[in-house]
Symmetry: D2
Subunit: 369 residues, 4 copies
């Protein structure tokens, strides 16, 4: 196609780990190679271009057919990712140890030109997509691929990594059921979800949780306690609570005791607070399990592999069509394009009247409200 | 709600097994009990009402909170299912062993009334939904829940059981990769999909198949052979072929040799034919694996649990709203209602220009065309 | 066989949950039924006999072929288990709320006679087997089946539940690898193992941990820090540490800071201490994951199903042979009998010179010594 | 240690794929590197040395710490394996297309010397171990690591790959249960096991099969039919049959019909015969699933990873101790050495009176005898 004139592209992955990153890379690389383009991976976000001297073999990795073989199902990313070295606010430490921040995006755009990179496919979350927007406005041809395990990015119905996280959290709930039942316990499971409760709601419904606490619905512990009591009256001596890390109590809720424990708060978050309070207030043996770090890794589910592969291929197709400054999004069953400038800083909460929430209510699940 | 006046509902599951049936049942039962309704399960499709004398404990099973506890993740259906005893064409054998068919639907509708069943939630495929339509037209209040692992029902984007089937088929492809590679083999994997290639396409893309053969695209084996040769030139001495059971060769294709093997055809289907032909024509060691029966069972994925739970709860909500003669459908991210009479006999093929197909082409996958 | 004269047996499960309990029950029940014996399950340890009034349907559950169908792969136990209501030290609360303990074992033995129970198969850990020994000495025919996920019971090479726990802990380590790598973190994973490090050693080796801390080897954090530094020099910016909950530092080790955090200690144990200290001392971002409660539940692996089924059947065979006061043990590939009085209070640590430990050392794994 | 004087070793993997090969390689490489030895992998069995011109990058792959990182859980083998190019009977095709066989072992031993390889760790089955024995007798320092998914190698209680195969076959039986039940079918599952029924027995017991047919016990189909009938009388309208590929009928058994179908026999083997006969003789709908090729691949279970890692490390330890001409074997809980000349051509059948078989009988499982 005359539109693109692309001969060489680069791929970068930024921010935290997510199952499916390698599948995005493989699809983008094969789609590019099959168009006769060359492909390079930038090491560790943009670090390969900003600090090339760190890499013995260079900060750009040639991505061949062989290099991307057999990686679809592997966790992690073969080109590396990082939360550091943000080119829009690059940290500089002076001789007194003071840190200041400089903008290295112009330098970065020049670096792409020097390497004869015609376009960039960048995979990342809210922050990475904002950087991509800056690069696009400075003239780099850029297509973004959204990445968020929390599923809270606006303008795309779902992203890769989310299904894997929900599947694993659901399996963990399954495991806790028999243990909670045989020990007559309250089990509190904390999952990711700082701004939105997608994982908690989906895993909670799929894994038969009794209580789901999410950022979208400030909870009153008294309602949770009422649910525990109601279950005891039905003959069930145990209760499973799933709580998103961003869940918050209603105005004057009873969390004084756990709040006083500085260290626990730092390490354990809302899950530990809820567990400590419930044990204090109900007298029931209560345990907490924090799944956070386990939800980012692992082999992607077939569903996440598909989304990731589709996103990677779509990014190359978009470049071929002459697109730039856009993000690939899922609007089932199709993929479409969203301007990057409409994405930044917007967050997608769980709609309280969506079908999954109605299902949860029909199942008798308590949201603490 | 005044609309419904429902006090007691029944649930039935018909046709083949599918992962998620128990989740539909659990959600429908809890949603009904939480509305103050009673719930009964009809044993084995409609057999519990048509042949009640077969059941020591009666053909209707009272469904309580306890009965549906802990079943979301279990395969099968606690109320039984069957392909037999179709009430619209009920088989009668006379004393000479001749079989004739009678319509027992009027009797069935009366039987519901005698049991004071105000409404029916019935879960099933194309055939079961057609029966549901007849019952609805005869005055029974009926809501259908679609069930098809092949994913080929029209008017719903996806149904429960499909994700579980794709996940397992993908895992099987993963397993075959290293074996195919170390033995330098062609591996042919046959999956379900008589009329549509949904499982083959989704598992094939997610599981890195090299060739995908589906009913929607008549294949020419010469193109498959060319792909095998191309891979050898790239240094890959093995090839993975996934084939839907309904895949068909183009007009005058080379399948003469395998066609002559009557028994193999009956037992193995298109997978064995393709494998035998490829071995004959390429001289490469070729093996076939038929996954069919393994794809129907097992514990549903979290995704399928969610869809099934949502469908079960939505069916009860639809009854409460006064609906009848409709099927629950998924129009992501929402659930909606489709008239049963618009469903029957219609089939949904994989659109050849859908995003997943474009991704497959971008990845270099061969469809035999 | 003349030796046994058994017509009716009972089964009980005591202590914490373990994957495989239902498989033991199924095998014992089928083995008994196939010998023409009747089978009953005592609810919740011995509670069904000690507090029968708690159970609407009675404290003894008739165990039929139907009741044990399809339960081999289910977590939990269909007859219930508990850590409470120990008949050798049964808690009595007087009107002032003071608790005293009485011996109800004589009453329990009489209760078995009143129910015409000829023999008992009891599944449990150290405590339950000690109770079984008392009952046997008071004349009840008893065969014990060992249960310990920690794998620390003496006289049996392995018990059911252990393989499932190791498999899940290994899967969690797999998940953490890519995340630890992409974030350049130290990840500390705490697993069960109060007195012995079996799970930590086996999962640590299988899941490629870099450091394993176990009760058998008091650790010096400086050695762990040296390992983290050594890895950085090899170019690996992350480290995976697995720690058994009973791991202890050497005499004067550096854990002062975390020790001062009362609440964290109560909730998180040694894993949080190690994580806090490592972050403090290395400056590296460090995270902790506590797997404890997740390791007790879930569907048993095929290996654990086999051990559990073999133990259940062997218990019935032992009763048929006239045995009593013994525990079933695994001495691969055979099952044998061990006198209950030789079991109580003895613990099996990981031998520091066993082959798995030598393998760990050969792989370069650090034990903190 | 003075005994060994080893500076450089090679590793080869021969025969079919097995889950755990990469774990053996990783453990052997790390154990060798940690002793200051160099490590090379021979490509594709001995092909890297016999046909080095086939490999652009050479037939020997330097194995570094980086090369073996993160491979423990991957199926396949990073150095390749093959059933071809046996150096004791190397095939030579003359200009007329006639094949003759020559002995290239002397040349192979010289080739090791030319590459300054001091010792070889070779992983393989019966055939590969016989080759290893020849090389050892010709003066090469060799330690063998046994590999057989069928678990039929004599002198070792178990080998890696077997647990993974049993786990997957068990999962498949789980999947088939609900489908068989809802369709009222007989399901026949064929698994590997040409000479011994280890997989069939272990998966059959763990997966609740009703009938297990193995090479060790010639079956009479009439007994299988009696079992199917007995189950129907108990109210179970379906039956699960697991059959090892080497199972054989008793002298004059009824298999005439299926025997006449040449092609089916080649493709499907005993599973299809048994299924066809059972359908013919019982009139029940019968289906067959052949798992063979699925059992060789996939990610190894934690149990298999452990055995494989222990074997790899033990091989290097044996070399350090000056051993040669021996095979590593498992004598739980220890690893020991067995002279290679005692291994060749000996096969280990399932002992008919072993504890697992007794358990199977206690569970009422039918063996067709």
């Amino acid at each position: 196609m005359a539109l693109s004139n692309i001969k060489r592209i680069a791929i970068s992955t930024g921010g935290g780990d997510a199952p499916g990153l390698n599948a995005v890379i493989r699809a983008a690389v094969l789609a590019a190679l099959n168009r006769g383009w060359e492909c390079y991976g930038i090491r560790d976000g943009y670090t390969g271009l900003l600090l090339p001297e760190q890499y013995v073999e260079g900060g750009m990795m040639r991505l061949t057919r062989d290099r991307v073989r057999g990686i679809t199902h592997l966790g992690g990313t073969i080109i590396g990712t990082t939360n550091r070295n943000n080119p829009t606010q690059y940290p500089i430490t002076d001789k007194d140890g003071n840190i200041s921040y400089i903008d290295r995006t112009d330098e970065l755009v020049r670096s792409f030109m020097l390497h004869h990179i015609d376009a960039l496919v960048t995979v990342g979350g809210d922050g990475s997509l904002a950087i991509a927007n800056v690069l696009a406005q400075k003239g780099l041809r850029v297509v973004g691929v959204p990445k968020t395990i929390d599923n809270d990015l606006d303008r795309t119905v779902v992203t890769f990594g989310f299904d894997t996280a929900v599947a694993f959290a659901t399996e963990c709930l399954d495991r806790l059921h028999s243990t909670a039942a045989s020990h007559g316990r309250v089990m509190v499971v904390e999952v990711m979800g700082r701004y939105a409760g997608w994982i908690a709601v989906n895993a909670g419904v799929a894994g038969s949780a009794d209580v789901i606490l999410i950022p979208e619905i400030p909870y009153n512990l008294q309602n949770v306690i009422a649910k525990i009591k109601e279950r005891e009256e039905h003959g069930y001596n145990f209760t499973i609570v799933i709580v998103a890390e961003g869940a918050k109590p209603q105005g004057g809720d009873v969390t004084v005791k756990a709040k006083s424990v500085g260290q626990a708060e730092r390490l354990g978050g809302v899950g530990e607070k809820v567990a400590a309070d419930l044990q204090e207030l109900t007298g029931k043996e209560t345990r907490v399990v924090v799944l956070g770090h386990l939800l980012r890794g692992g082999s992607p589910t077939s569903q996440d592999r598909l989304i990731a592969l589709r996103f990677g291929a779509a990014a190359v197709r978009a470049l071929e069509e002459g697109q730039s400054g856009i993000m690939i999004a899922l609007d089932p069953p199709n993929v479409n394009y969203v301007p990057l400038e409409e994405v930044a800083g917007r967050m997608r909460a769980v709609p309280l009247d969506c079908d999954t929430m109605m299902t949860a209510r029909d199942l008798g699940i308590c949201f603490g409200d």
